[in-house]
Symmetry: C2
Subunit: 647 residues, 2 copies
Amino acid sequence: MNQHVPPVAARPKAKFRPPAIQKVRVAGFFGPRIDTIAATTAHTLLDRCIDAGMLDQVDPERPNPGLKIPYQAGNDTVTTQMFWDSDFGKSIETAAYALFRKPDPALEARIDAVIEAYGRLQDADGYLNSWYQRIEPGKRWTNLRDCHELYDAGHLIEGAVAYYQATGKRRFLDILARYADHIAAVFGPKEGQKRGYCGHPEIELALIKLGRATGVQRYLDLARFFVDERGATPHFFDLEAQARGSDPKDYHFGSHEYSQSHETVRRQRQVVGHAVRAAYLYSGMADVSTEFGDDSLRPALEALWAHLTEKNLYVTGGFGPSAHNEGLTFDYDLPNETAYAETCAAVALVFWANRMLGLGPDRRYGDVMERALYNGALVGLSLDGTRFFYDNPLESRGGHHRWTWHRCPCCPPNIARLVASVGTYAYGEAEDEIAVHLYCESVADLDAAGAKIRIRQETRYPFEGRVVLTVEPDREADWTLSLRLPGWSPQVAASVNGEPVDVAAHDRDGYLRLRRRWRAGDRVELDIAMPVERLHAHPRVGANQGRVALQRGPLVYCLEEADNGAFLNAVVLKAGSRFRCEAAEDLGGATVLVADAAREAASDAAPLYAPEAPARRDAPVRAVPYYAWDNRAEGEMLVWVRQEDAR
Amino acid sequence: MNQHVPPVAARPKAKFRPPAIQKVRVAGFFGPRIDTIAATTAHTLLDRCIDAGMLDQVDPERPNPGLKIPYQAGNDTVTTQMFWDSDFGKSIETAAYALFRKPDPALEARIDAVIEAYGRLQDADGYLNSWYQRIEPGKRWTNLRDCHELYDAGHLIEGAVAYYQATGKRRFLDILARYADHIAAVFGPKEGQKRGYCGHPEIELALIKLGRATGVQRYLDLARFFVDERGATPHFFDLEAQARGSDPKDYHFGSHEYSQSHETVRRQRQVVGHAVRAAYLYSGMADVSTEFGDDSLRPALEALWAHLTEKNLYVTGGFGPSAHNEGLTFDYDLPNETAYAETCAAVALVFWANRMLGLGPDRRYGDVMERALYNGALVGLSLDGTRFFYDNPLESRGGHHRWTWHRCPCCPPNIARLVASVGTYAYGEAEDEIAVHLYCESVADLDAAGAKIRIRQETRYPFEGRVVLTVEPDREADWTLSLRLPGWSPQVAASVNGEPVDVAAHDRDGYLRLRRRWRAGDRVELDIAMPVERLHAHPRVGANQGRVALQRGPLVYCLEEADNGAFLNAVVLKAGSRFRCEAAEDLGGATVLVADAAREAASDAAPLYAPEAPARRDAPVRAVPYYAWDNRAEGEMLVWVRQEDAR
């Protein structure tokens, strides 16, 4: 351990873990999405991974495809990639959740075949990485900075844990545990061990999952080592570059900010660099803080959280505006049309927020988790489950559409595994407390205060704000039920068994904390007011001034050309108009917003520039949830809509 | 000639040519700029060309630098380039105008040395291209599509004509005339000749200049051949690719639209492809139309002009929004922050507009020439004449600044040669007519109706609209003096020798046509009203809606952080506020605009998104001419400024 790491503090009183996948059955809004993933996406991902050549790279029984450089093979899609194990790992994880949702022997057999290929690939010492075993043998552990080696391991581990939880089969878990044991032997603070860590964080949170699933402390310790060691001096990536015969200064991204290793993690206060790396790292840090009761990580985590959410977060919950570094730039830099806002970054923010809830319910985290989930992440998956957004602008002039696949196919399995496992994000379990972070029609079988507790949620959320929770413990016990009071709602009414609850009196950190002796059949009712809000951006977000984003409940809305014609920037909302909510048949019954608005228009022959303001005429406007855009006719899209001056 | 070319029509009645450089002495607004170019920029360009290694490439007495690929030599600036002759050509042209402005034996000696190097380089057959003679010998005329070979020739020819006009020395003109003769032998419709043309138009307009300067018809004919042949089928670039053993489909830019050779020029109706190539081609087409009285080119030229100016022109007179093709995309695609709007494109638009005036005065062309000159082109040169913009966004968040040099140094000598020769753009001479296209303190010695006519302009234009023209012919004669009535002015008053003129009655195509027997001392006074205009964009230009661009006279204005603090999108103009004009000491006395405005502000701690609109407070706003931005403290810049709703 390096000099910056304090001794482990006393464990905090409440330590929340997300429930394992099999403990929550989701219906309502997410049910059909998960069914689509189980029926379609899980197969599609596997098909496309295999079509891309991943199994050829993994399976030693297949001819070695060798090194193929993108853009030099005459076809962008014909390539081999050092991060392919991660895509396979996430696809297996998605398939695992799909199998939990719905038995599918054919899918299970296909996954088992991939797992067997990994079994054949694994070295005698436990090492397992298809790139370094088959494409660049002899180079393992020589470039942690750039080459995703431990990142690959992390995603395979996550896949293995999920597959074990979903199917009960240990084969893949055993393979990855053996690999994790090998990594634990190679990396660590002892003489002869490497004091390295991955340029792309991921293994940290994966090892926490592995430790939780297996009960093996060694994996948690290794996660902590990677977190603690990051950014220590002399810098591992520089030493490693020198060992390769390279000049550390000859680094494409210039600064170790790109991989959040520019300083030790406890000193970090600003979100920098590659967005997905950042949120994966912070997820691992939060996990370590939770598992080890390590409060010394909290000041960094809270400062990073504030820096992201107060100065660098899109209203959709996406972040990382720049394509150049797939990440952060400078405060309030939130351009709309060129927003990168990678789907994976919003997914990763859900992960991070969820882990920030590990030390207890706090609306700051729950609200952002919800925002990222319903908007910046969910938009990444088409309604039919077959197409995927990689980058997510908040404005499109008609040329931005979902991919069938991508040369860097990280986002498709990432959004699929998130949605397919959304139930685990809805709850947190602690010793004598259950937190409800997300509202969602569902049945959860949870544990608290020594009781087995079924919680049944009935709700049309996110389209309606009424939520009825029925508590069915197997025995009476005293514990706290904590219900998030969404920050976007101006008013929440609550009752327990018909008795009104004084919400303000029981509000702590934005959660309604109901402590009592819970009995079978206890019924909690929430009425969360869900008006249409017009959000204004901080004046420093230049692109959004004079404009509003429409939000209702957790959903951010946008205009689409399909509903409003082209030239969406000619639409001007009226300050006083009322929005009507309608169920959209063409978008799976989603609530859409309709209002009177104005529209500027001019003929084809009108001058390009004129001293007169263009004429306006009344025209209705229809806004649809951002997650649902680009599922109908292709065309323009706009989140931040002009609004006439109320002054 | 190909099948689409009609026979030459009867010459039109009026045929306007720009006066040669030595005929117009410029003072006033442009005087100090030209002085700076003569004193500084002309030397700077030559220094930087030579520092970049251009003379090493040209001079056979120097060691051959060989092929150096950019980005592979460890230093972006260490490279050899196939378009270097063009940069030398434009730099020599600039130096020529500088020498005309102010004798400078040292500069002249340096240019003569470069010319002698070209003399040494020239092959016995007249061929002259430093790339193909020294870097890739044996490959001449094998890739006209991509390799700028004739483009290089064009710029050398322009340099030679200018140097001849400025110094009277024929050496460089003779070298280039010999090369032009060689080209005329290689290219043409006859058996054994190549029916090719350059991927980057330029030689067409250069050959017209050469023909005019030498009186040799062969050069005009060759220009016409290149214009007529362009885009004919079978496509020369495809045949040429096949001859190189390449697949014509394997073309980086996909379509021949990139080089405006997708169809024959007379069939073209839409401005497409690389912006500079487009305007250079259209310049050559207009020249050919003028010189040959070829009306068959006019429908294309007029349609192209309308398409550019009515749907694709920035308010600054820049065009070509996309960096990808350095050119056009789709109608009304005029993003501000990502605007490419290359300086060379605005310069080229001045060229094209000037040549559209070849068939007679027409405000449609004069107004756009003026807009491009004072804004999109002039911005390319710093006030001190040492730094250069390549691309010209209309909004910057602080990161956009002029270059000292550029790996592709086309813009620096292009804007310098334009400004240094601006007098030739101010007038047009025809048989019995003199047109004043640009107002500028100047003395011009022109020819019309057999008389030698001195026209003296006294004016503080572009900062004031009063212009006094004194006409001093060497003998009385009947001819027409045509004075542009700028389209941006709501009112122009005019008088001749104190007698008011009925402007409307004498307005033809936006020029005040004064036909009379002019006598020495005749005095024309113009009072061109010059209010501050707030221009609104066509509603289809999405980015500009709810915003106005400020314009006064020919100058487009912008806000800079230096005057208004950061976060310029928080500034909101008041619909009714009055702008005051002030002379800015910090910008060479330029007129700046000051008004009361409002500003949205919020603290660092304010939420990123909130249902409440940000508070506004009154704050003055100061707008400076766009051409003058980035000459003081670095910071943000904004052309399209928010304006409160007047409704």
